[in-house]
Symmetry: C2
Subunit: 207 residues, 2 copies
């Protein structure tokens, strides 16, 4: 007989509850958004009591922090492409596309990574490091473009400028502040705004 009830004992003391909670949270994240993602809903999805999570995470913030850290690691991995021997501008374009695509594919995760939900007080070391790793990839790309040292102050500045630009653009689009032009590809959109920059910083044509 033994009906498989909802509160199945299959998930009692399984031993790997933490990763299960994380993947459940990740699944719910894109539907609920980072603000409305609730610990209770995550627990219920796994089939576990509402308080079980507290034996694996200090609180909701910490679970979210692990989720964000995973996001930064994925972003870093996506950016860790082979050195294509293309022109500097092509490399910049390519990195922008990867970054922009990541944000567009997982907007809620991206919002979590860069948003208000992360309690900045007790930051997970894991998260701080994953974030630094992602920024490191940006520096590596920029250094390659310029044929310069990855850790020089100039490269850092250039990478921060690039990061600001692409993060701002992705942010404006996924928060629907700017409408993403319907019927346009990511490629065309990135190219268009990259052109916009050239207009903003005229390559010393007159004067």
């Amino acid at each position: 007989m033994r009906k498989a009830t909802r509160r199945s004992r299959d998930t009692y003391h399984v031993g790997n509850l933490a990763p299960q909670l994380l993947t459940a949270a990740r699944e719910l994240l894109e539907d609920a958004g980072p603000t409305r993602l609730s610990l209770r809903a995550v627990s219920e999805r796994v089939g576990v009591s509402a308080t079980a999570a507290y034996h694996h995470f200090a609180n909701r913030s910490e679970l979210l922090g692990h989720l964000a850290a995973k996001g930064f690691r994925e972003l870093a991995a996506a950016l860790r492409q082979p050195h294509t021997e293309a022109s500097p501008l092509q490399q910049l374009r390519s990195a922008c596309l990867i970054y922009f695509g990541f944000a567009r594919k997982s907007p809620a995760l991206y919002q979590l990574m860069f948003g208000t939900e992360l309690s900045h007080e007790d930051m997970l070391p894991e998260l701080t490091q994953a974030r630094a790793e992602a920024f490191g990839e940006l520096r590596r790309i920029v250094a390659g473009m310029r044929g310069a040292d990855r850790d020089s102050a100039e490269t850092r500045r250039a990478a921060l400028a690039g990061w600001s630009y692409i993060h701002g653009l992705a942010s404006l689009v996924i928060h629907e502040v700017m409408e993403f032009p319907p019927g346009t590809s990511d490629e065309r959109f990135i190219d268009s705004t990259l052109q916009g920059f050239a207009l903003l910083f005229p390559p010393s044509e007159d004067s």
Copy 2:
């Protein structure tokens, strides 16, 4: 005798509850952050019942929407400076400083304006318009810099690129993704990242 109790009847039927709620919300916003700002706390601060707000706003989202709209109007006003007859780059620098200063002075308001808390479904027309107004100021500034038409496609692209950059930079700083270098002025910081851009887009020095 007539003690002035907390639930004072002074605030019963005053007639201007809506603006009072708005200013109370604005006051609480920077302490609580956009995510944790609660309608109940706002009502309590005004000295009114928890449900009174529903006679003036459809729900929490709408109140937040009005707050954000006010923020965009303030930002637009700050940007609406007289045309200083300076070099294009000086004008860009000046606009960036104003924008960056706004975000740094009211980080929670800025996060609300560009964040997840705004239910994008039923957007207030007021908010959409105030936002467009702010972007209009950016376009005006960029058009002035380039000596071009404010509504041309090129100016729009350049303005969007500029907006992406400064929004990204402000966003990274106020969300504490990038540490704002301690002991540095906004001026120095903006100049430094603006230089970073020059490095990213080399002014055609070598072929």
